[in-house]
Amino acid sequence: MTEYTERLLTETPRKDAADRFRLVWLVVIPLVAVLSQVYVPRFVPFLAYLELPLLITVHFALTSGGPIPALFYGMSIGLVQDSLSHQPIGMYGIVKTLVGYFAASVSMRFDVQNPVVTFILAFFFYFFHQFFYWVLSRALLGEALGFDAQQTVIFGLLNAAVALPLFRLLDKLKVAS
């Protein structure tokens, strides 16, 4: 194991209290993310692929320092998304709860400030989010939805690419607060 990989696995992620968001940002940022998801595609349709609430959840989970706040945060964002959708409430809630939980768990092991790790995690959790939502839709609602893995991979890469500057921006907000 090289020094780099050892540091990736053992270095403690951001857990300083000073680095944490203020409560207002915890509310405003996901709200903006949800709004952007329902509002922006009206005018820029190709941005519909952007899953900003998921990226916000992942970022919060990676920086929250514990799985429990992360899973509740993910659950809250997911439930808001559900509220603005035509699906039963809880679908996005479950998926984002799992994403928050696992992202927070992963953040204990990796150096999430590394861009490569951030990119991979963002891509992985996007794929996981989409796939698990598809599974739940088939299993719980009986919907015969198709799952386009190739498209999901591409969209995952795009979301991961967006995640890099977005996470940096959120980190700055966090520092500023």
């Binding site: 329902v38 509002y39 899973l71 603005l84 409430i89 809630g93 479950i94 709860t97 719980l140």
Partner: protein, 448 residues
């Protein structure tokens, strides 16, 4: 248990949260009910912000967008204006094509229904000369066109052919100053000579001041000129003041309204009645001049004073047939064999009726094609001005009767132009009309 919860606290919370949401979904799916509270909260939280965003967008980006849209509108306006102009040009072209098609169809209908034999032609150019009103048409001598032929349209006469070349003909329009044609008015049957004036209107000359001609009255060709068949419309009177010695009757030619593009050249004209006359035309009850054949009465034939009419001559023919075939008229029972009228001897200056193309058997002559007072028995139409006694046969002598089995003229479309009395018109300077009686209708013996 406590150990488990403390050891797997995170996992336990996760399971609880997931289970709670699963139950929530299960409840919604099972009861088909929604959780309005959560949705109301979410929507209430999101939509005001959304409205605010929309308001901001409308007054910022929307304004900018409208500005650029308006910039584009100017360009689009120019583009649409150009397209509109092009479409107008296309529209005019298509209208012109449609109008041409309509005229061609009208011409075709007229050609089919006219008893005269005609050929359609298209004006392809104007003749030279400042005052001359002549045009070239695309039919020439190869199409059977000859000099002196009448040129008409369904609306009226147009002119006459003055020169026929192999592939084209030169047509003098009726507005040409040197043009002249015999015309007759519809209502008062006033005869005159139509003359071109070099402009849009024509003059009807040689009408006495005492004659009465109404404004708006129609003039038709009279057939006197032996070029235009009788009965073709010429035009309406626009003015008819008295002149020094003759009336100055101005006629607006109906055949040239809207220009002349497609015309019909009358290869073989057939006279028609002038429609709607209140006074019967005496001009066409006059018999044609006798030919030499009729002038040289054979020996033994009744004297001209005795055979003053065609009926008398035909009666003499039948009498001779009866003598030759030893048949006494008025004898025999109904159904007995009549004399063979196909073996009429050429006597009394009358050729044998079986001469090809010279006559039609009785009963086959087109109704209304014999002139007034000349129709044989059984051919007269109700309303014609001659009585048709059942036992007499009145052969026609006034004009040649090479009747053409054609439908009535296009002018009959309005039902105001009966074709009774149609006769072919000799185009060239008129040879005297041959006295050639119609085929006499055989009269059954029992009717004698």
């Amino acid at each position: 248990m406590d150990f488990f919860l403390s050891r797997y606290r995170h996992l336990t919370v996760l399971l609880i949260v997931i289970t709670a949401q699963l139950l929530l979904i299960a409840y919604q799916v099972k009861t088909n009910k929604d959780i309005p509270l959560i949705r109301v909260w979410a929507v209430t939280a999101v939509t005001p912000v959304e409205q605010g965003l929309e308001l901001v967008r409308r007054y910022t980006w929307g304004f900018v967008e409208d500005y650029f849209v308006l910039l584009n509108v100017r360009g689009q306006n120019e583009k649409l204006r150009r397209e509109n102009g092009q479409l107008k040009i296309d529209n005019n072209y298509l209208r012109s094509e449609l109008s041409t098609a309509d005229r061609a169809r009208a011409l075709s209908v007229f050609e089919a229904r006219s008893p005269s034999k005609t050929v359609a032609a298209r004006v392809i150019g104007n003749g030279t000369g400042a005052n001359s009103k002549v045009v070239f048409v695309d039919r020439g001598s190869t199409s059977g066109v000859e000099s002196g032929m009448a040129v008409v349209t369904p609306d009226g006469i147009v002119g006459k052919v003055v020169d026929a070349y192999p592939t084209a003909s030169l047509v003098m329009l009726i507005t040409d100053p040197t043009f002249a044609a015999g015309v007759v008015s519809q209502k008062n049957r006033v005869h005159g000579t139509l003359k071109g004036q070099g402009h849009a209107e024509c003059l009807v000359d040689y009408v006495q001041n005492e004659e009465h001609v109404d404004i708006g009255e129609w003039f038709y060709t009279s057939g006197d000129d032996r070029i235009f068949p009788k009965g073709f419309p010429v035009g309406q009177v626009t003015a008819a003041p008295n002149g020094k010695s003759f009336k100055e009757i101005y006629v607006s030619p109906s055949g040239m309204q809207g220009g002349v593009e497609e015309v019909l050249i009358v290869l073989q004209g057939v006279h028609q009645e002038v429609p709607g006359g209140e006074i019967s035309s005496p001009a066409y009850t006059i018999l044609a001049a006798p030919t030499e054949a009729t002038a040289q009465t054979p020996e033994g034939a009744p004297q001209p004073g005795a055979l003053a009419t065609d009926a008398d001559r035909l009666r003499a023919i039948y009498k001779d047939v009866g003598v030759e075939q030893k048949h006494t008229y008025g004898e025999g029972v109904p159904g007995s064999k009549p004399p063979d009228f196909t073996k009429i001897p050429s006597i009394h200056g009358v050729p044998a009726p079986n001469t090809a193309g010279q006559a039609q058997p009785a009963g086959q002559t087109k109704p209304g094609q014999s002139q007034a007072g000349q129709a044989p028995v059984g051919l007269s139409q109700p309303g014609q001005n001659q009585p048709a006694p059942a036992k007499t046969v009145a052969p026609k002598t006034a004009t040649p009767v090479v009747t053409k089995p054609k439908p009535p003229a296009a002018g009959d479309d309005t039902d105001d132009e009966p074709v009774a009395g149609s006769t072919p018109v000799p185009r060239k300077p008129a040879p005297p009309a041959a006295v050639r009686p119609n085929v006499p209708a055989p009269v059954p013996d029992n009717n004698q």
